[in-house]
């Protein structure tokens, strides 16, 4: 093989690798931010529970409606501020309106991982007195996505 033929093959290979890298990147960009957040929580659950079979709308609903009684007395449940129906708007204790939690009503929700984590951190502490697990977070989001 002549040296220049060899370098031709190499550069073709480089082009192919580069193109697939770009395409793979584009693929990631096309997946919705909300699905990425769910996938992230799923990956975290799988580390601790190898037999994990996916998030559950029912478990998410139960969590949303529950009154654990271990958090701050003024906020016994998610429903204290978000109302019993995620499709309805809520109200903070200071009287400010909260957009509905259901994705069908508030399509911009759960697309910013930092923001999602911030509100889980605060509100899980307020309602349950502890940090929520990745399983709880994923179930909760799944419930809201399916509303």
């Amino acid at each position: 093989m002549k040296p220049h033929a060899n370098s031709f093959t190499l550069s073709t290979l480089a082009v192919i690798i580069f193109t697939s890298w770009i395409l793979a990147g584009a693929n990631v960009a096309f997946a919705s931010p909300r699905q990425n957040i769910l996938a992230d929580y799923a990956a975290r659950v799988k580390i601790q529970t190898p037999g994990f079979e996916g998030f559950s709308t029912d478990r998410g609903k139960k969590l949303f409606l529950s009154k654990p009684g271990t958090g701050k007395p003024d906020i016994p449940s998610c429903t204290t501020c978000h109302s019993n129906n995620p499709a309805n708007p809520g109200q903070t204790r200071a009287g400010k309106a909260i957009e509905p939690m259901a994705v069908s009503r508030s399509p911009a929700r759960y697309t910013d991982f930092k923001k999602v984590e911030k509100w889980f951190r605060r509100n899980c502490k307020s309602v349950t007195g502890r940090i929520c697990t990745s399983l709880e977070k994923g179930d909760f989001l799944t419930f809201m996505i399916n509303q």
Binding site: K72, G95, R122
Partner: protein, 158 residues
């Protein structure tokens, strides 16, 4: 008749003067910092910092994990920025004290604007009890329920 126009002028000027002072009575600088607007405004009205003294804001910002019975904890850099803004614009930040310092004893650190002597005096006689129990009001912290332009610092509509 040279006397009458002067009389009128004086009268008009007097009305104009009274008018402006009354109108400008309950105005506060609206919050202009976007971090303060976004973070504080996520749960409640963005209260103008001129409504509490420095030490109150510092105490509130130091205890965000139990913010009036709720976890409102924030990242350290936001806490620092917001605390600075609130201090720099507090009731006792100007060359002379703002209205909300009136009647406040030196050793008291009110954590609620609605507990300051000035706020209490302004609302107690004027606002009937049924207004507070209206579900649309819900909380004494919900200024815009009655003061429609509260967010822009205008409380002259009472």
């Amino acid at each position: 008749m040279p006397k009458t126009p002067i009389k009128y002028l004086v009268a008009i000027f007097a009305i104009f003067l009274t008018g402006t002072t009354v109108q400008a009575d309950e105005r506060y600088d609206p919050v202009r910092n976007q971090v303060v607007i976004d973070e504080c405004g996520a749960c409640h009205m963005v209260f103008q910092p001129q409504m509490l003294p420095k030490k109150s804001w510092v105490k509130i910002m130091n205890d965000l994990s139990d913010h009036f019975g709720e976890d409102a904890s924030l990242d350290a850099s936001s806490v620092k920025l917001i605390t600075k803004y609130l201090q720099e614009n507090s009731a006792d930040s100007g060359w002379r004290d703002g209205k909300f310092m009136r009647g406040l004893s030196k050793n008291s650190t009110p954590l609620r604007i609605t507990k300051t002597p000035y706020w209490v005096r302004e609302h107690n006689e004027e606002v009937p009890q049924r207004a507070w129990s209206d579900p649309k009001v819900k909380s004494r912290a919900n200024c815009p329920a009655c003061h429609r332009r509260a967010n822009s610092g205008d409380y002259d509509d009472d």
